[in-house]
Protein backbone atom coordinates (compact mmCIF):
# COMPACT_ATOMS: atom_id res chain seq x y z
CA UNK A 1 0.00 0.00 0.00
CA UNK A 2 2.85 2.37 -0.68
CA UNK A 3 1.92 3.59 -4.13
CA UNK A 4 0.26 6.92 -4.68
CA UNK A 5 -3.45 7.18 -3.88
CA UNK A 6 -4.21 9.24 -6.94
CA UNK A 7 -2.01 9.48 -9.94
CA UNK A 8 -2.64 11.26 -13.24
CA UNK A 9 -0.64 10.62 -16.38
CA UNK A 10 -0.28 12.97 -19.30
CA UNK A 11 -3.59 14.79 -18.97
CA UNK A 12 -4.66 17.07 -21.83
CA UNK A 13 -7.66 19.34 -22.04
CA UNK A 14 -8.67 21.78 -24.77
CA UNK A 15 -11.36 24.44 -24.56
CA UNK A 16 -12.24 25.35 -28.13
CA UNK A 17 -8.74 26.34 -29.16
CA UNK A 18 -7.24 26.94 -25.74
CA UNK A 19 -4.89 24.20 -24.63
CA UNK A 20 -5.67 24.37 -20.90
CA UNK A 21 -3.78 21.28 -19.75
CA UNK A 22 -0.62 20.30 -21.64
CA UNK A 23 0.36 16.83 -20.51
CA UNK A 24 0.08 17.06 -16.76
CA UNK A 25 1.41 14.10 -14.77
CA UNK A 26 1.43 14.14 -11.00
CA UNK A 27 1.16 11.69 -8.08
CA UNK A 28 -0.56 12.34 -4.79
CA UNK A 29 0.77 10.15 -1.98
CA UNK A 30 -1.30 8.75 0.87
CA UNK A 31 -1.87 11.03 3.85
CA UNK A 32 -0.07 13.87 2.20
CA UNK A 33 -1.21 17.48 2.17
CA UNK A 34 -0.35 18.96 -1.20
CA UNK A 35 -0.68 22.63 -2.05
CA UNK A 36 -1.60 23.33 -5.67
CA UNK A 37 -0.57 26.80 -6.69
CA UNK A 38 -0.85 28.77 -9.88
CA UNK A 39 -2.09 31.98 -11.40
CA UNK A 40 -5.57 32.33 -12.88
CA UNK A 41 -5.74 30.27 -16.05
CA UNK A 42 -2.75 28.13 -15.10
CA UNK A 43 -4.88 25.00 -15.33
CA UNK A 44 -5.31 24.09 -11.67
CA UNK A 45 -9.08 24.39 -11.73
CA UNK A 46 -9.21 22.28 -14.90
CA UNK A 47 -7.12 19.58 -13.22
CA UNK A 48 -9.40 19.63 -10.17
CA UNK A 49 -12.55 19.60 -12.28
CA UNK A 50 -11.32 16.49 -14.04
CA UNK A 51 -10.54 14.71 -10.76
CA UNK A 52 -13.93 15.65 -9.31
CA UNK A 53 -15.89 14.56 -12.39
CA UNK A 54 -17.18 17.97 -13.45
CA UNK A 55 -15.21 17.81 -16.69
CA UNK A 56 -13.58 15.01 -18.63
CA UNK A 57 -10.04 14.98 -19.94
CA UNK A 58 -9.46 14.85 -23.69
CA UNK A 59 -6.38 12.71 -23.26
CA UNK A 60 -4.55 10.98 -20.45
CA UNK A 61 -5.23 8.48 -17.71
CA UNK A 62 -6.17 8.59 -14.04
CA UNK A 63 -5.22 5.94 -11.51
CA UNK A 64 -6.80 5.65 -8.08
CA UNK A 65 -5.01 3.32 -5.67
CA UNK A 66 -3.10 1.84 -8.56
CA UNK A 67 -6.17 0.98 -10.62
CA UNK A 68 -7.11 2.88 -13.74
CA UNK A 69 -10.27 4.89 -13.13
CA UNK A 70 -12.85 6.44 -15.44
CA UNK A 71 -14.35 9.54 -13.88
CA UNK A 72 -17.24 10.84 -15.94
CA UNK A 73 -19.48 12.34 -13.26
CA UNK A 74 -19.20 13.77 -9.74
CA UNK A 75 -20.81 10.55 -8.54
CA UNK A 76 -17.96 8.46 -9.96
CA UNK A 77 -15.47 10.67 -8.22
CA UNK A 78 -17.24 10.41 -4.87
CA UNK A 79 -17.52 6.66 -5.25
CA UNK A 80 -13.74 6.51 -5.62
CA UNK A 81 -13.42 8.42 -2.35
CA UNK A 82 -12.56 11.82 -3.82
CA UNK A 83 -14.49 14.66 -2.24
CA UNK A 84 -14.27 18.21 -3.53
CA UNK A 85 -15.06 21.37 -1.62
CA UNK A 86 -15.46 24.30 -4.00
CA UNK A 87 -14.65 27.92 -3.44
CA UNK A 88 -18.17 29.01 -4.36
CA UNK A 89 -19.33 26.69 -1.64
CA UNK A 90 -20.71 23.25 -2.16
CA UNK A 91 -23.74 23.87 0.03
CA UNK A 92 -27.33 24.79 -0.75
CA UNK A 93 -27.99 27.86 1.42
CA UNK A 94 -31.78 27.40 1.47
CA UNK A 95 -31.55 23.95 3.05
CA UNK A 96 -30.78 22.80 6.58
CA UNK A 97 -27.38 21.52 7.70
CA UNK A 98 -28.70 17.98 8.13
CA UNK A 99 -30.19 17.95 4.63
CA UNK A 100 -27.08 19.48 3.09
CA UNK A 101 -24.82 16.85 4.60
CA UNK A 102 -26.69 14.10 2.82
CA UNK A 103 -27.64 15.64 -0.54
CA UNK A 104 -27.31 12.90 -3.13
CA UNK A 105 -26.44 10.26 -0.50
CA UNK A 106 -29.51 10.29 1.68
CA UNK A 107 -30.11 7.41 4.09
CA UNK A 108 -33.35 5.80 2.98
CA UNK A 109 -35.85 3.56 4.72
CA UNK A 110 -37.93 2.11 1.90
CA UNK A 111 -37.24 2.69 -1.74
CA UNK A 112 -38.63 2.06 -5.17
CA UNK A 113 -36.52 2.72 -8.29
CA UNK A 114 -34.03 4.63 -6.14
CA UNK A 115 -36.63 7.01 -4.75
CA UNK A 116 -37.40 6.46 -1.10
CA UNK A 117 -38.38 7.78 2.28
CA UNK A 118 -35.68 9.70 4.14
CA UNK A 119 -34.47 8.39 7.45
CA UNK A 120 -34.73 11.80 9.11
CA UNK A 121 -33.68 10.56 12.55
CA UNK A 122 -30.51 9.04 11.22
CA UNK A 123 -29.77 12.20 9.22
CA UNK A 124 -30.10 14.41 12.29
CA UNK A 125 -28.13 12.11 14.55
CA UNK A 126 -25.28 11.56 12.13
CA UNK A 127 -25.04 15.19 11.14
CA UNK A 128 -24.68 16.25 14.79
CA UNK A 129 -21.93 13.67 15.15
CA UNK A 130 -20.20 14.61 11.90
CA UNK A 131 -20.14 18.28 12.85
CA UNK A 132 -18.80 17.54 16.31
CA UNK A 133 -16.08 15.38 14.74
CA UNK A 134 -14.55 18.35 12.96
CA UNK A 135 -14.68 20.43 16.14
CA UNK A 136 -17.42 22.70 14.90
CA UNK A 137 -19.93 23.83 17.48
CA UNK A 138 -23.44 24.18 16.10
CA UNK A 139 -26.47 23.73 18.26
CA UNK A 140 -29.00 22.56 15.74
CA UNK A 141 -28.69 20.48 12.57
CA UNK A 142 -31.93 22.14 11.42
CA UNK A 143 -30.42 25.60 10.99
CA UNK A 144 -30.26 26.79 7.40
CA UNK A 145 -26.80 26.76 5.85
CA UNK A 146 -27.52 30.27 4.57
CA UNK A 147 -27.34 31.52 8.14
CA UNK A 148 -23.84 30.17 8.76
CA UNK A 149 -20.67 32.18 8.34
CA UNK A 150 -18.28 31.35 5.50
CA UNK A 151 -15.95 29.46 7.81
CA UNK A 152 -18.77 27.47 9.37
CA UNK A 153 -19.97 26.50 5.90
CA UNK A 154 -16.52 25.25 4.95
CA UNK A 155 -16.53 23.37 8.23
CA UNK A 156 -19.81 21.67 7.37
CA UNK A 157 -18.47 20.81 3.90
CA UNK A 158 -15.40 19.27 5.47
CA UNK A 159 -17.58 17.43 8.00
CA UNK A 160 -19.51 15.98 5.07
CA UNK A 161 -16.35 14.78 3.35
CA UNK A 162 -15.14 13.21 6.59
CA UNK A 163 -18.46 11.57 7.27
CA UNK A 164 -18.42 9.79 3.93
CA UNK A 165 -14.91 8.53 4.64
CA UNK A 166 -13.31 10.17 1.69
CA UNK A 167 -9.71 9.22 1.00
CA UNK A 168 -8.82 12.35 -0.93
CA UNK A 169 -10.17 15.78 -0.12
CA UNK A 170 -9.79 18.54 -2.67
CA UNK A 171 -10.24 22.02 -1.26
CA UNK A 172 -10.63 24.65 -3.97
CA UNK A 173 -9.72 28.06 -2.54
CA UNK A 174 -11.32 27.25 0.81
CA UNK A 175 -9.93 30.37 2.47
CA UNK A 176 -11.34 32.90 0.00
CA UNK A 177 -13.64 35.47 1.57
CA UNK A 178 -12.93 34.24 5.09
CA UNK A 179 -11.90 36.27 8.11
CA UNK A 180 -8.42 35.75 9.56
CA UNK A 181 -9.77 33.68 12.43
CA UNK A 182 -11.82 31.46 10.15
CA UNK A 183 -8.92 31.10 7.75
CA UNK A 184 -6.78 29.78 10.58
CA UNK A 185 -9.46 27.29 11.42
CA UNK A 186 -9.61 26.01 7.82
CA UNK A 187 -5.81 25.75 7.74
CA UNK A 188 -6.08 23.75 10.93
CA UNK A 189 -8.52 21.40 9.18
CA UNK A 190 -6.08 20.88 6.32
CA UNK A 191 -3.28 20.10 8.76
CA UNK A 192 -5.41 17.63 10.67
CA UNK A 193 -6.37 15.66 7.55
CA UNK A 194 -3.18 13.65 7.83
CA UNK A 195 -4.11 12.29 11.26
CA UNK A 196 -7.41 11.14 9.78
CA UNK A 197 -5.61 9.28 6.97
CA UNK A 198 -6.91 11.62 4.31
CA UNK A 199 -4.93 13.04 1.44
CA UNK A 200 -5.54 16.75 1.05
CA UNK A 201 -5.18 18.75 -2.15
CA UNK A 202 -5.32 22.39 -1.21
CA UNK A 203 -5.71 24.95 -3.98
CA UNK A 204 -4.89 28.49 -3.10
CA UNK A 205 -3.59 31.79 -4.35
CA UNK A 206 -2.09 32.39 -0.97
CA UNK A 207 1.43 30.96 -0.67
CA UNK A 208 1.53 31.57 3.07
CA UNK A 209 -1.52 29.39 3.61
CA UNK A 210 -0.01 26.61 1.53
CA UNK A 211 3.39 26.76 3.20
CA UNK A 212 1.73 26.78 6.60
CA UNK A 213 -0.40 23.71 6.05
CA UNK A 214 1.08 21.47 3.35
CA UNK A 215 3.89 18.94 3.03
CA UNK A 216 4.47 19.49 -0.65
CA UNK A 217 3.84 22.23 -3.12
CA UNK A 218 2.97 21.78 -6.80
CA UNK A 219 3.00 24.88 -8.96
CA UNK A 220 1.29 25.17 -12.33
CA UNK A 221 1.69 27.69 -15.11
CA UNK A 222 0.35 27.72 -18.67
CA UNK A 223 -1.20 24.28 -18.33
CA UNK A 224 1.93 22.56 -17.10
CA UNK A 225 3.53 21.66 -13.82
CA UNK A 226 6.53 23.91 -13.34
CA UNK A 227 7.60 22.99 -9.84
CA UNK A 228 7.02 20.03 -7.51
CA UNK A 229 8.92 20.09 -4.20
CA UNK A 230 8.65 19.29 -0.52
CA UNK A 231 7.77 22.46 1.36
CA UNK A 232 10.94 22.03 3.41
CA UNK A 233 13.09 22.10 0.28
CA UNK A 234 11.73 25.26 -1.30
CA UNK A 235 10.71 28.79 -0.45
CA UNK A 236 7.95 31.20 -1.29
CA UNK A 237 10.40 33.20 -3.38
CA UNK A 238 11.37 30.20 -5.46
CA UNK A 239 7.74 29.28 -6.14
CA UNK A 240 6.93 32.85 -7.02
CA UNK A 241 9.81 33.02 -9.50
CA UNK A 242 8.55 30.07 -11.57
CA UNK A 243 4.94 31.25 -11.87
Amino acid sequence: MNGPIVSVKNLHKWYSGVHALRGVSVDFARNEAVGLIGDNGAGKSTLINILSGVQKQDEGRIFVEGKEATISSPRDSMRLGIETIYQYNSMVPTMSIARNLFIGREPIKYSLFGIGVLDMRKMRKESVQAIADVDLHLRSPDALVGELSGGQRQGVAIARAMHFKSKVMILDEPTNHLSVKETNKVIGFVRSLKEQNVTGIFISHNMHHVFESCDRVVAMARGQIVLDRRVSETSIDEVQSVL
Partner: protein, 325 residues
Protein backbone atom coordinates in the same frame (compact mmCIF):
# COMPACT_ATOMS: atom_id res chain seq x y z
CA UNK B 1 -39.16 31.41 22.77
CA UNK B 2 -37.06 33.58 20.51
CA UNK B 3 -36.06 30.48 18.60
CA UNK B 4 -39.72 29.53 18.09
CA UNK B 5 -40.62 33.01 16.93
CA UNK B 6 -37.73 32.97 14.49
CA UNK B 7 -38.72 29.58 13.15
CA UNK B 8 -42.30 30.70 12.54
CA UNK B 9 -41.26 33.95 10.97
CA UNK B 10 -39.11 31.99 8.54
CA UNK B 11 -42.06 29.85 7.48
CA UNK B 12 -42.88 31.41 4.12
CA UNK B 13 -46.57 30.54 4.23
CA UNK B 14 -47.13 32.35 7.52
CA UNK B 15 -47.93 35.79 6.12
CA UNK B 16 -50.53 34.33 3.76
CA UNK B 17 -52.14 32.29 6.50
CA UNK B 18 -52.58 35.33 8.74
CA UNK B 19 -54.06 37.32 5.88
CA UNK B 20 -56.42 34.48 5.02
CA UNK B 21 -57.77 34.44 8.54
CA UNK B 22 -58.36 38.21 8.51
CA UNK B 23 -60.12 38.09 5.14
CA UNK B 24 -62.44 35.27 6.20
CA UNK B 25 -63.50 37.29 9.26
CA UNK B 26 -63.95 40.41 7.13
CA UNK B 27 -66.03 38.71 4.43
CA UNK B 28 -68.11 36.85 6.99
CA UNK B 29 -69.11 40.18 8.53
CA UNK B 30 -69.50 42.05 5.23
CA UNK B 31 -71.69 39.34 3.69
CA UNK B 32 -73.96 39.18 6.69
CA UNK B 33 -72.96 35.63 7.59
CA UNK B 34 -73.47 34.17 4.11
CA UNK B 35 -69.79 33.58 3.49
CA UNK B 36 -69.41 30.67 5.89
CA UNK B 37 -72.89 29.25 5.23
CA UNK B 38 -73.18 25.63 4.12
CA UNK B 39 -74.41 26.52 0.64
CA UNK B 40 -71.60 28.93 -0.05
CA UNK B 41 -68.95 26.60 1.34
CA UNK B 42 -70.30 23.80 -0.85
CA UNK B 43 -69.76 25.94 -3.92
CA UNK B 44 -66.40 27.12 -2.66
CA UNK B 45 -64.99 23.65 -1.97
CA UNK B 46 -66.43 22.39 -5.25
CA UNK B 47 -64.31 24.75 -7.31
CA UNK B 48 -61.22 24.94 -5.12
CA UNK B 49 -59.56 21.60 -6.07
CA UNK B 50 -59.30 22.54 -9.75
CA UNK B 51 -57.03 25.52 -9.26
CA UNK B 52 -55.36 24.01 -6.19
CA UNK B 53 -54.15 20.97 -8.15
CA UNK B 54 -52.62 23.26 -10.76
CA UNK B 55 -50.99 25.36 -8.04
CA UNK B 56 -49.48 22.28 -6.37
CA UNK B 57 -47.69 21.37 -9.59
CA UNK B 58 -46.58 24.93 -10.25
CA UNK B 59 -45.30 25.30 -6.68
CA UNK B 60 -43.16 22.17 -6.87
CA UNK B 61 -41.80 23.24 -10.24
CA UNK B 62 -40.97 26.71 -8.92
CA UNK B 63 -39.18 25.22 -5.92
CA UNK B 64 -37.16 23.28 -8.47
CA UNK B 65 -36.26 26.61 -10.08
CA UNK B 66 -38.45 26.54 -13.21
CA UNK B 67 -41.72 28.01 -14.51
CA UNK B 68 -44.63 26.58 -16.43
CA UNK B 69 -46.90 28.96 -18.33
CA UNK B 70 -48.54 26.15 -20.30
CA UNK B 71 -50.58 24.77 -17.38
CA UNK B 72 -53.75 26.65 -18.37
CA UNK B 73 -53.60 25.31 -21.91
CA UNK B 74 -52.84 21.76 -20.73
CA UNK B 75 -55.83 22.16 -18.39
CA UNK B 76 -57.99 22.46 -21.52
CA UNK B 77 -56.10 20.07 -23.81
CA UNK B 78 -56.18 16.97 -21.61
CA UNK B 79 -60.00 16.80 -21.19
CA UNK B 80 -60.48 17.82 -24.84
CA UNK B 81 -58.23 14.94 -25.94
CA UNK B 82 -60.34 12.60 -23.84
CA UNK B 83 -63.63 14.02 -25.13
CA UNK B 84 -62.57 13.64 -28.75
CA UNK B 85 -61.39 10.06 -28.16
CA UNK B 86 -64.58 9.17 -26.31
CA UNK B 87 -66.66 10.68 -29.13
CA UNK B 88 -64.83 8.21 -31.39
CA UNK B 89 -66.12 5.41 -29.17
CA UNK B 90 -63.09 4.81 -26.97
CA UNK B 91 -63.85 3.86 -23.35
CA UNK B 92 -63.24 6.27 -20.49
CA UNK B 93 -60.26 4.45 -18.89
CA UNK B 94 -58.38 4.23 -22.18
CA UNK B 95 -59.16 7.83 -23.03
CA UNK B 96 -57.97 8.79 -19.55
CA UNK B 97 -54.66 7.03 -20.07
CA UNK B 98 -54.26 8.73 -23.44
CA UNK B 99 -54.99 12.11 -21.86
CA UNK B 100 -52.41 11.54 -19.14
CA UNK B 101 -49.86 10.50 -21.76
CA UNK B 102 -50.45 13.75 -23.63
CA UNK B 103 -49.71 15.64 -20.39
CA UNK B 104 -46.58 13.57 -19.78
CA UNK B 105 -45.40 14.30 -23.31
CA UNK B 106 -45.95 18.03 -22.93
CA UNK B 107 -44.23 18.11 -19.55
CA UNK B 108 -41.32 16.14 -20.92
CA UNK B 109 -40.99 18.42 -23.94
CA UNK B 110 -41.11 21.52 -21.73
CA UNK B 111 -38.32 20.16 -19.57
CA UNK B 112 -36.24 18.64 -22.32
CA UNK B 113 -36.24 21.76 -24.50
CA UNK B 114 -35.52 24.01 -21.54
CA UNK B 115 -32.53 21.98 -20.40
CA UNK B 116 -31.17 20.72 -23.71
CA UNK B 117 -31.03 24.19 -25.27
CA UNK B 118 -30.46 26.07 -22.00
CA UNK B 119 -33.33 28.48 -22.59
CA UNK B 120 -35.47 29.97 -19.83
CA UNK B 121 -38.50 27.80 -19.09
CA UNK B 122 -40.49 31.03 -19.21
CA UNK B 123 -39.96 31.04 -23.00
CA UNK B 124 -40.31 27.30 -23.61
CA UNK B 125 -43.59 27.08 -21.77
CA UNK B 126 -44.89 30.35 -23.20
CA UNK B 127 -44.51 28.74 -26.62
CA UNK B 128 -46.05 25.52 -25.35
CA UNK B 129 -49.01 27.51 -24.00
CA UNK B 130 -49.89 28.69 -27.53
CA UNK B 131 -49.21 25.29 -29.07
CA UNK B 132 -51.37 23.39 -26.58
CA UNK B 133 -54.19 25.94 -26.69
CA UNK B 134 -54.20 25.82 -30.48
CA UNK B 135 -54.21 22.01 -30.48
CA UNK B 136 -57.21 22.05 -28.15
CA UNK B 137 -59.24 24.10 -30.60
CA UNK B 138 -57.97 22.21 -33.65
CA UNK B 139 -58.81 18.71 -32.37
CA UNK B 140 -62.25 19.88 -31.26
CA UNK B 141 -62.86 21.13 -34.79
CA UNK B 142 -64.39 24.28 -33.36
CA UNK B 143 -67.34 22.34 -31.96
CA UNK B 144 -66.66 20.72 -28.60
CA UNK B 145 -67.85 17.10 -28.74
CA UNK B 146 -70.66 15.97 -26.46
CA UNK B 147 -69.57 13.92 -23.48
CA UNK B 148 -71.00 10.40 -23.23
CA UNK B 149 -73.71 10.03 -20.59
CA UNK B 150 -72.14 7.13 -18.69
CA UNK B 151 -69.02 8.84 -17.36
CA UNK B 152 -67.73 7.87 -13.89
CA UNK B 153 -68.74 11.24 -12.46
CA UNK B 154 -69.20 9.63 -9.04
CA UNK B 155 -65.44 9.15 -8.93
CA UNK B 156 -64.60 12.80 -9.55
CA UNK B 157 -67.33 15.34 -8.94
CA UNK B 158 -70.27 13.82 -7.05
CA UNK B 159 -71.10 15.35 -3.67
CA UNK B 160 -70.05 13.30 -0.67
CA UNK B 161 -69.65 13.62 3.06
CA UNK B 162 -71.74 15.11 5.82
CA UNK B 163 -74.28 17.63 4.52
CA UNK B 164 -73.07 16.87 0.98
CA UNK B 165 -70.47 19.53 1.70
CA UNK B 166 -67.66 18.21 -0.45
CA UNK B 167 -67.25 16.84 -3.93
CA UNK B 168 -65.12 13.79 -4.69
CA UNK B 169 -62.66 16.15 -6.35
CA UNK B 170 -61.86 17.55 -2.91
CA UNK B 171 -60.82 14.09 -1.72
CA UNK B 172 -58.58 13.71 -4.77
CA UNK B 173 -57.07 17.09 -4.07
CA UNK B 174 -56.35 16.35 -0.39
CA UNK B 175 -54.81 12.96 -1.16
CA UNK B 176 -52.64 14.39 -3.92
CA UNK B 177 -51.61 17.40 -1.81
CA UNK B 178 -50.54 15.13 1.06
CA UNK B 179 -48.63 12.81 -1.27
CA UNK B 180 -46.81 15.61 -3.07
CA UNK B 181 -46.03 17.30 0.22
CA UNK B 182 -44.54 14.07 1.58
CA UNK B 183 -42.61 13.62 -1.64
CA UNK B 184 -41.12 17.07 -1.26
CA UNK B 185 -40.29 16.88 2.44
CA UNK B 186 -39.71 13.25 3.26
CA UNK B 187 -38.03 11.62 0.26
CA UNK B 188 -34.62 11.86 -1.32
CA UNK B 189 -36.24 13.09 -4.54
CA UNK B 190 -37.70 16.00 -2.54
CA UNK B 191 -34.25 16.75 -1.20
CA UNK B 192 -32.91 16.80 -4.76
CA UNK B 193 -35.73 19.08 -5.95
CA UNK B 194 -34.92 21.61 -3.23
CA UNK B 195 -31.19 21.36 -3.88
CA UNK B 196 -31.64 21.73 -7.65
CA UNK B 197 -33.74 24.85 -7.24
CA UNK B 198 -31.79 26.18 -4.26
CA UNK B 199 -28.32 26.20 -5.78
CA UNK B 200 -27.86 24.39 -9.08
CA UNK B 201 -24.01 24.35 -9.18
CA UNK B 202 -23.84 22.67 -5.77
CA UNK B 203 -26.52 20.15 -6.72
CA UNK B 204 -24.60 19.30 -9.89
CA UNK B 205 -21.31 19.01 -8.05
CA UNK B 206 -22.87 16.63 -5.54
CA UNK B 207 -23.86 14.33 -8.37
CA UNK B 208 -27.61 14.92 -8.37
CA UNK B 209 -29.19 14.17 -11.78
CA UNK B 210 -30.55 17.72 -11.94
CA UNK B 211 -31.80 17.47 -15.53
CA UNK B 212 -33.90 14.42 -14.74
CA UNK B 213 -35.16 15.98 -11.51
CA UNK B 214 -36.32 19.06 -13.40
CA UNK B 215 -37.98 17.05 -16.16
CA UNK B 216 -39.80 15.00 -13.51
CA UNK B 217 -41.14 18.23 -11.99
CA UNK B 218 -42.27 19.51 -15.39
CA UNK B 219 -44.11 16.25 -16.00
CA UNK B 220 -45.74 16.30 -12.55
CA UNK B 221 -46.88 19.88 -13.17
CA UNK B 222 -48.43 19.03 -16.56
CA UNK B 223 -50.16 15.88 -15.34
CA UNK B 224 -51.70 17.64 -12.34
CA UNK B 225 -52.93 20.48 -14.58
CA UNK B 226 -54.50 18.08 -17.05
CA UNK B 227 -56.14 16.14 -14.25
CA UNK B 228 -57.52 19.38 -12.79
CA UNK B 229 -58.91 20.25 -16.21
CA UNK B 230 -60.64 16.89 -16.42
CA UNK B 231 -62.29 17.53 -13.05
CA UNK B 232 -63.56 20.92 -14.22
CA UNK B 233 -64.93 19.46 -17.46
CA UNK B 234 -66.75 16.71 -15.56
CA UNK B 235 -68.18 19.32 -13.20
CA UNK B 236 -69.34 21.57 -16.06
CA UNK B 237 -70.46 18.66 -18.21
CA UNK B 238 -68.86 20.01 -21.37
CA UNK B 239 -65.28 20.30 -22.68
CA UNK B 240 -64.84 23.95 -23.61
CA UNK B 241 -61.62 24.80 -25.43
CA UNK B 242 -61.29 28.08 -23.54
CA UNK B 243 -61.16 26.76 -19.96
CA UNK B 244 -58.06 27.51 -17.93
CA UNK B 245 -57.27 30.78 -19.68
CA UNK B 246 -55.30 33.02 -17.37
CA UNK B 247 -54.86 30.16 -14.94
CA UNK B 248 -51.10 29.95 -15.45
CA UNK B 249 -50.53 33.38 -13.95
CA UNK B 250 -53.02 32.85 -11.14
CA UNK B 251 -51.19 29.66 -10.25
CA UNK B 252 -47.86 31.49 -10.16
CA UNK B 253 -49.51 34.21 -8.07
CA UNK B 254 -50.85 31.57 -5.68
CA UNK B 255 -47.43 29.99 -5.28
CA UNK B 256 -45.80 33.36 -4.67
CA UNK B 257 -48.50 34.47 -2.24
CA UNK B 258 -47.87 31.22 -0.38
CA UNK B 259 -44.21 32.07 0.02
CA UNK B 260 -42.55 30.24 -2.88
CA UNK B 261 -39.41 32.05 -3.99
CA UNK B 262 -39.31 33.09 -7.65
CA UNK B 263 -35.71 31.95 -7.99
CA UNK B 264 -36.33 28.52 -6.51
CA UNK B 265 -35.32 26.51 -3.49
CA UNK B 266 -37.85 27.92 -1.06
CA UNK B 267 -41.54 27.07 -0.75
CA UNK B 268 -44.08 24.52 0.39
CA UNK B 269 -47.06 22.73 -1.12
CA UNK B 270 -49.16 24.00 1.76
CA UNK B 271 -48.13 27.56 0.89
CA UNK B 272 -49.33 27.19 -2.70
CA UNK B 273 -52.64 25.81 -1.46
CA UNK B 274 -53.05 28.69 0.99
CA UNK B 275 -52.37 31.02 -1.94
CA UNK B 276 -55.16 29.42 -3.96
CA UNK B 277 -57.56 29.51 -1.03
CA UNK B 278 -56.79 33.23 -0.60
CA UNK B 279 -57.49 33.93 -4.25
CA UNK B 280 -60.75 31.97 -4.14
CA UNK B 281 -61.77 33.64 -0.88
CA UNK B 282 -61.23 37.07 -2.39
CA UNK B 283 -63.14 36.14 -5.55
CA UNK B 284 -66.04 34.70 -3.61
CA UNK B 285 -65.97 37.27 -0.81
CA UNK B 286 -66.03 40.25 -3.16
CA UNK B 287 -69.11 38.90 -4.88
CA UNK B 288 -70.90 38.17 -1.60
CA UNK B 289 -70.01 41.63 -0.34
CA UNK B 290 -71.60 43.04 -3.49
CA UNK B 291 -68.41 44.72 -4.61
CA UNK B 292 -68.07 45.28 -8.38
CA UNK B 293 -66.54 41.98 -9.58
CA UNK B 294 -64.10 43.85 -11.75
CA UNK B 295 -62.09 44.61 -8.64
CA UNK B 296 -61.12 40.92 -8.45
CA UNK B 297 -57.98 41.17 -10.56
CA UNK B 298 -56.99 44.36 -8.78
CA UNK B 299 -57.18 42.51 -5.48
CA UNK B 300 -55.14 39.54 -6.72
CA UNK B 301 -52.49 41.85 -8.11
CA UNK B 302 -52.24 43.91 -4.96
CA UNK B 303 -52.21 40.76 -2.84
CA UNK B 304 -49.36 39.21 -4.82
CA UNK B 305 -47.18 42.27 -4.40
CA UNK B 306 -48.14 42.64 -0.77
CA UNK B 307 -47.39 38.98 -0.02
CA UNK B 308 -43.90 39.15 -1.51
CA UNK B 309 -43.10 42.35 0.34
CA UNK B 310 -44.48 40.97 3.60
CA UNK B 311 -42.52 37.74 3.20
CA UNK B 312 -39.22 39.40 2.52
CA UNK B 313 -39.81 41.76 5.44
CA UNK B 314 -40.61 38.85 7.75
CA UNK B 315 -37.56 36.97 6.63
CA UNK B 316 -35.37 39.99 7.23
CA UNK B 317 -36.83 40.45 10.69
CA UNK B 318 -36.29 36.76 11.41
CA UNK B 319 -32.68 37.01 10.33
CA UNK B 320 -32.21 39.94 12.66
CA UNK B 321 -33.32 37.85 15.64
CA UNK B 322 -30.07 36.69 17.12
CA UNK B 323 -30.13 33.16 18.37
CA UNK B 324 -27.08 30.98 18.52
CA UNK B 325 -27.00 28.36 15.81
Amino acid sequence: MKRMLKMYMEKPELAALLLLFLLIVLFQIRSGGVFLSLDNLRGFFGILPEMALVAIGVTVLMICGEFDLSVGAVFALMPMTMAVLMAMGIAFPLAFIAGVLVCVAIGFLNGFLTIRFAIPSFITTLGMMFVARSLTVVISGGFPPLLPADLPIWLFTSFVGPGQLLRMSFIWFVVIAVLVSLLLNRTNLGNWIRATGGFLPAADALGIPTARVKIACFILCSVLSGFAGLIQVLRLGSPLPSIGEGMELQAVAAAVIGGTALNGGVGAVLGGIIGVVLIRVIDNGLILSQVDANWFKFAIGALTIFAVVANSWLRKRAKAIKVEI
